[in-house]
Amino acid sequence: MKKFSLIILLVAGASFLAVTGCQRGNNQAAAGPTIALVMKTLNNPFFIDMQLGAEAAAKALQVNLVVQAAEREVDVEKQMQIIENLIQRKVQAICITPSGSREIVPAIVKANRAGIPVLILDTRVDEVALAEAGGQVATFIGSDNFEGGRIAGEYIVNRLGGLGKVAILEGIPGHETGDARLGGFRQAIENSPGIEIIASQTANWERDQGYNVFQNILQSHPEVQALFACNDMMALGAIEAIAAAGKTGEIIVVGFDAVADGREAIGRGTMDGSIVQHPFEMGKLAVEQAYQLINGQSSPAYIPVNIELITKENLN
């Protein structure tokens, strides 16, 4: 048995060295300042695009870029640990996509105390909580999710001619991004009295749950004419449920984020539209702004990034 443990230990040690060795090689490419980008997760296409944008800017400006994220999108505590470690590592600027609008505030305050500028991307920080804690954010770079939800709502209202029954697939309850999209959508619907929201359920951002939950909604409300899903993953699950019910093309489906699979579905006509943000642009702007801050220049408090609806007509 000792032999077995020894082999395991050796294999584990060797692979650890191999992996960390590779990481080192990647990180110490340039001699300039080090900027950190802390994202919600590394396994969502949206954040992968953001990372690519940041990497492009880092390469152009010849700065070191450290990209880290928690494994799960809602793991605020893990994100906080990452930021604490980066402060210890003395990076010159930290760009964060907060996993929680309030929960991230203590981490921002810590960075402030260490004199490291903090840039916020994509998801806004709760301003009241930030002010109460005495924290400071150099700039916010992002799209207005509320506006995105409103655009989706207006599109559905127009397609239905102001009269019809609509269902919503919500994200994880209590998530700032999802709540803003939902709020914007509901506002657009409230402005047109002929439209009725007949079901609004969560599918927790996930594709398989989008399938199940919308299949159930189709059972209880077969008359549903349009669906707004707060992200594309849930919309993509829902269009498979629609296909299984033989109703493809009968229900208007609008998602959010315009991920690759979503664009393809729009091209095929199984999905009608998706709200697109520009994560690549966000990542690029973040590194550029961080670079300016490190060099003593100031940056505007809010840098809006375009948000728009794509449909089959303007897919490319």
Partner: protein
């Protein structure tokens, strides 16, 4: 003729079966959309993946073990399966690859537990992280989507008007019931869970059969991955999060003891259906997201409490 031991054999399941029937009755009264053939077929379809994974979990828990890695293995098998499908491998071969990845991951668990003498909780906890990381690495964090119609038929097709995933589920349960009640593997699974040392002393090759049980759990996770991938037309590296807890819940609601040595495969099927019916019903009723999770958790606790009370009464 009904066999003499029919009642005592299936008596344990009555508590959970009654629970399921009451739940269905309540939903029937509350919403007209529940008790319809299409909706019941939907419930069966939505339950199938969890039910299939829970079969492996039942074997594992009967040996007094636990398998926390099933959700991650679903993701890993899924992305590997998806990539070989897209590389143009014929569907039967690709399915074999998907099952193979699941089986191998499960066997690694089995080896770590038997030859490495790790507690199942630790080794499968490690595998949960390793397989998830492998899925992310392999797919570079991106979903792999778009497969041929012939593959998708596995989940979207019907045979005799019954969705294929439901048929696969029924076949898996029939086979598992047979294995658990009529074969050496089944008898030894109970023996190991009842008293591992006694089993070993009476000549059971404990290591071999334990490794087989974890291999089976991995294999069925691979099968779950195949259905999930065909159903969604996409394999995602983040798929299957929390599936382990759903499978454990189905098993435990079904009357399998976490202490090992006892449990019935039919009970697990009923347990999986209780969870599936509940999720479906809460959607049909339009219950708010906040309330849903609380209700599901409470039902799990109540089901086990009632089951334990009934068992006490009988003995």
């Amino acid at each position: 003729m009904v066999p003499k031991d029919f009642l005592s054999h299936y008596g344990r399941q009555f508590g959970t079966l009654i629970g399921l029937l009451v739940l269905m009755l309540v939903l029937w009264i509350l919403t007209p959309h529940f008790f319809t053939v299409p909706n019941l077929l939907n419930v069966a379809q939505q339950t199938s993946i969890n039910a299939i994974i829970a079969v492996g979990m039942t074997f594992v828990i009967i040996t007094a073990g636990i398998d926390l890695s099933v959700g991650s293995i679903v993701a890993f098998s899924g992305v590997v399966l998806a990539s070989v499908l897209q590389a143009g491998l014929p569907v039967p071969l690709a399915i074999a690859v998907g099952l193979g990845v699941g089986l191998l991951s499960g066997l690694v668990n089995g080896l770590l537990i038997t030859y490495g003498r790790l507690p199942p909780f630790i080794s499968t906890l490690g595998m949960m992280s390793v397989a998830r990381g492998a899925a992310l690495l392999y797919s570079q964090g991106r979903p792999i989507s778009g497969f041929s119609e012939s593959f998708r038929l596995l989940a979207t097709g019907e045979t005799f008007h019954i969705p294929n995933p439901v048929i696969i589920m029924v076949l898996v349960y029939a086979a598992a019931h047979f294995v658990l009640t009529r074969t050496k593997l089944g008898r030894y699974t109970y023996a190991i869970g009842g008293n591992e040392e006694a089993a070993s002393l009476s000549g059971v090759n404990v290591r071999l059969y334990k490794a087989m049980v974890y291999g089976l759990s991995g294999l069925l996770s691979g099968l779950g991955a195949i259905i999930l991938t065909a159903r969604l037309n996409s394999a995602q590296p983040i798929a299957g999060v929390m599936y382990e807890l759903d499978a454990i819940a189905a098993t435990v609601i079904g009357g399998t003891s976490l202490m090992g040595g006892e449990g019935r495969i039919v009970g697990t099927l009923i347990g999986a259906f209780i969870m599936g019916v509940l999720r479906n019903g809460l959607n049909l009723l339009g219950v708010s997201s906040f309330v849903q999770q609380t209700v599901i958790g409470s039902v799990i606790i109540m089901a086990v409490l009632i089951d334990m009370a009934l068992k006490k009464q009988r003995t």
